[in-house]
C-alpha cells in the first residue's frame, strides 16, 4: 500500500477525505488485498472505540454510495474532477459519501470478526485470516455475501470492556510516560520539559 493510499484511507476514516481521495480508495479497493484488509482493521477498531450500533443497517450501502458518486459526476464535472474548485464546491456531498463508505466497511469488519468466531470484533488476526465478504468489496464484484450476514445482530464491544480499555490506557500512561519522556527530552526541541508531562516522576 502506498503512502498516499494510507493517507486517503486515514482521511476517509476521519471523515476528512475529499472526493479525490474517496475515488482513489474506491478504485483500488477491489484489486488491492492490503488496502482491503487495512480498511477492515481500521474500521473495526474505530467502531469499537466509538461504540456505534450498526446492527440494523443493510450491507448494500456501498452500491448506493457508488450510485451517488455516479449521479454526481456530470460530463462537464468529470473533466474538472481534479480541480480544486470542484473539491471546495461540494464538500458536503463528499463528506456524506465518505461517511456512508466508512459505515459500510465497519459492518464488514464486524461481521468478519463474527465469522472468525471471535467474541467481539477488533481481532485483527481473525480479520486478516478470513476471505473478504466485506460489503464494499462485494459490491465491486469481488466476492458474494450471504444474505443472512446483513440481518444478524452485530456484536458490539460491551460498555464494560470499553471502560476497561480506557482504564488500561490511563494506567499505561502512568507506567510508561517517564520512559517516553527520557527519549523525548533528548530528541525534541524543549529539553527537559517532557518530564513535566509525566504524571508522577519516579526516582
Amino acid at each position: 500500500m502506498t503512502e498516499r493510499m494510507r493517507e486517503s484511507l486515514s482521511a476517509l476514516l476521519d471523515d476528512e477525505a475529499n472526493e479525490l481521495e474517496l475515488e482513489r480508495v474506491l478504485s483500488h479497493i477491489a484489486e488491492n488485498d492490503d488496502l482491503r484488509q487495512a480498511w477492515v482493521r481500521y474500521n473495526a477498531v474505530r467502531a469499537a472505540v466509538s461504540g456505534h450500533q450498526l446492527a440494523y443497517m443493510k450491507l448494500d450501502i456501498s452500491s448506493q454510495v457508488q450510485q451517488v458518486i455516479a449521479e454526481q459526476r456530470t460530463p462537464s464535472a468529470a473533466q474538472t474532477a481534479t480541480s480544486l474548485r470542484q473539491r471546495f464546491l461540494r464538500p458536503v456531498a463528499s463528506l456524506a459519501i465518505a461517511a456512508s463508505v466508512a459505515a459500510t466497511v465497519v459492518i464488514g469488519g464486524q461481521q468478519l470478526a463474527q465469522i472468525g468466531g471471535a467474541q467481539s470484533y477488533g481481532n485483527s488476526q481473525a480479520v486478516a485470516a478470513s476471505a473478504s465478504p466485506v460489503g464494499l468489496v462485494n459490491s465491486l464484484g469481488a466476492t458474494t455475501v450471504q444474505a443472512s450476514y446483513g440481518t444478524q445482530t452485530v456484536p458490539v464491544l460491551r460498555p464494560a470492556t470499553r471502560t476497561a480499555y480506557q482504564q488500561l490506557a490511563r494506567q499505561r500512561m502512568q507506567k510508561y510516560m517517564q520512559e517516553h519522556a527520557e527519549q523525548a527530552a533528548l530528541n525534541s526541541p524543549q529539553g527537559l520539559i517532557p518530564f513535566a508531562r509525566v504524571p508522577r516522576i519516579r526516582e
Partner: protein, 318 residues
C-alpha cells in the same frame, strides 16, 4: 575567562549557521515550498542549547492545568548540565549532568537540514510547512515566530517563538486539528546569566537517563523479537532498538512517540482505549499476534490516528 571562551564559540557557530542559511536560500527550488529562512532558524534553535547558558521560570499549560517549573541550563567546557525543578504539583527535580556537547541525538539532527537542502534531501521540510513572521515579546525578549504546519495528518502543528538573538525556544504551542491549542509552554522570565535561584523545596530528585549504545543488547529469545512495520514518513528511531526489549521510540525532530509491547499470559478480549492529556496520547490496544495475546501501547505527542496505524503494524520479527 570562561565567559570569553563561550562568547568566542557562540560567534564561531553563529557564523557557520549564517553561511548554512545562505546556501539554503540558493537551493530552495530543489525542495518545493521549503522556507529557507525558517529552516535556518530551526537549525539555529537546535544548536542554541549547546551554546548558551540560561535559567528561568517556565509554564506548561495543558487544558485547564498549568504547571510552573524552573529551568537551568549551563554549558561548560564540552559538557552541558541541565535541571528542571517543579515549583507546583509533585515538586520533583530532574537533572542531567555533563551531557557531552558533541553528543547529538537523532531528533536534533533532523532539525538541521540546512546543508542537505541543496542536494535535494528535504528532510523535515517534506513533512511540515514552515513560515516566519515577527514574534511577540516573550519573557522580556524579542522573538521571531515560526509557524509549523504538518503536510499530512500524522502529526500536530506548532507555533514557536525563538529568541531573536540566541534562537532559544521561548514559547511553543502544539496545535491539533481545528487549530485547537493542545499544549503551550513558555518562559515567564529568562536570564542568560548562570545564577540559579535557591530556596526551593525539592521532594524528589531524578537523574535523567542517557542511552548507552549497544551495551544493553540482551539476546532475545527466538520468536520474542518484534518490530514496528510502519511509521509516518520522516520518523526515525531515537536509539538502537534492542531485540525483545519492550520499547521502540521514534522522532521526526518535533514530535516523539514510543511503542510498548507486553506479552500477556492469558487471553484478552480484543479492543482499544485512548486517553489524552494535553498533546500527549496514550493508546492501548489488545490483540493477537500470530495467536499470542499482546497489549500494545503507543504513547506520544501524535494524533490518535497515527498511534492506531502504528499499533496496527506491529508484528513479530520472523
Amino acid at each position: 575567562m570562561l565567559q570569553n571562551l563561550l562568547g568566542h564559540r557562540c560567534l564561531h557557530v553563529l557564523l557557520a549557521t549564517m553561511s548554512v542559511a545562505m546556501v539554503g536560500v540558493a537551493s530552495a527550488a530543489v525542495c518545493p515550498g521549503a522556507d529557507a529562512t525558517a529552516l535556518s532558524w530551526l537549525d539555529k534553535m537546535s544548536r542554541s542549547v549547546r551554546q548558551v547558558s540560561y535559567n528561568g521560570v517556565v509554564t506548561l499549560q495543558r487544558g485547564d492545568d498549568m504547571q510552573v517549573m524552573q529551568i537551568s541550563h549551563s554549558v561548560g567546557e564540552g559538557t552541558i548540565s541541565e535541571r528542571l525543578t517543579e515549583l507546583t504539583g509533585q515538586g520533583a527535580q530532574v537533572e542531567r549532568a555533563d551531557h557531552p556537547v558533541a553528543c547529538i541525538h537523532p531528533g536534533h539532527k533532523l532539525l538541521r537540514v540546512g546543508a542537505d537542502l541543496q542536494v535535494g534531501r528535504c528532510g523535515i521540510a517534506q513533512h511540515y510547512r514552515f513560515s516566519v513572521t515577527d514574534g511577540e515579546r516573550v519573557a522580556g525578549r524579542k522573538a521571531v515566530r515560526i509557524r509549523i504546519e504538518p503536510r499530512d495528518m500524522y502529526r500536530f502543528g506548532y507555533v514557536m517563538e525563538l529568541d531573536r538573538e540566541t534562537a532559544l525556544l521561548l514559547q511553543a504551542e502544539t496545535v491539533g486539528r481545528g487549530s485547537k491549542t493542545l499544549e503551550k509552554f513558555q518562559f515567564a522570565n529568562l536570564s542568560y546569566s548562570g545564577q540559579i535561584l535557591g530556596g526551593i523545596e525539592v521532594n524528589l530528585v531524578h537523574e535523567a537517563q542517557h542511552p548507552h549504545p549497544r551495551t544493553a543488547a540482551t539476546s532475545a529469545a527466538p520468536g520474542d523479537a518484534w518490530s514496528v512495520g510502519w511509521v509516518p514518513g520522516g520518523f526515525a528511531s531515537t536509539d538502537t532498538p534492542v531485540g525483545s526489549s519492550g520499547r521502540r521510540t521514534y522522532t521526526d525532530g518535533l514530535a516523539v512517540f514510543s511503542v510498548f509491547l507486553e506479552q500477556l499470559g492469558r487471553e484478552i478480549r480484543p479492543g482499544e482505549g485512548v486517553v489524552r492529556r494535553g498533546s500527549t496520547l496514550s493508546y492501548t490496544r489488545g490483540m493477537h499476534l500470530a495467536g499470542r495475546p499482546v497489549l500494545i501501547t503507543v504513547i506520544g505527542e501524535v494524533p490518535v490516528n497515527t498511534a492506531r496505524m502504528v499499533a496496527d503494524s506491529v508484528d513479530w520479527t520472523r
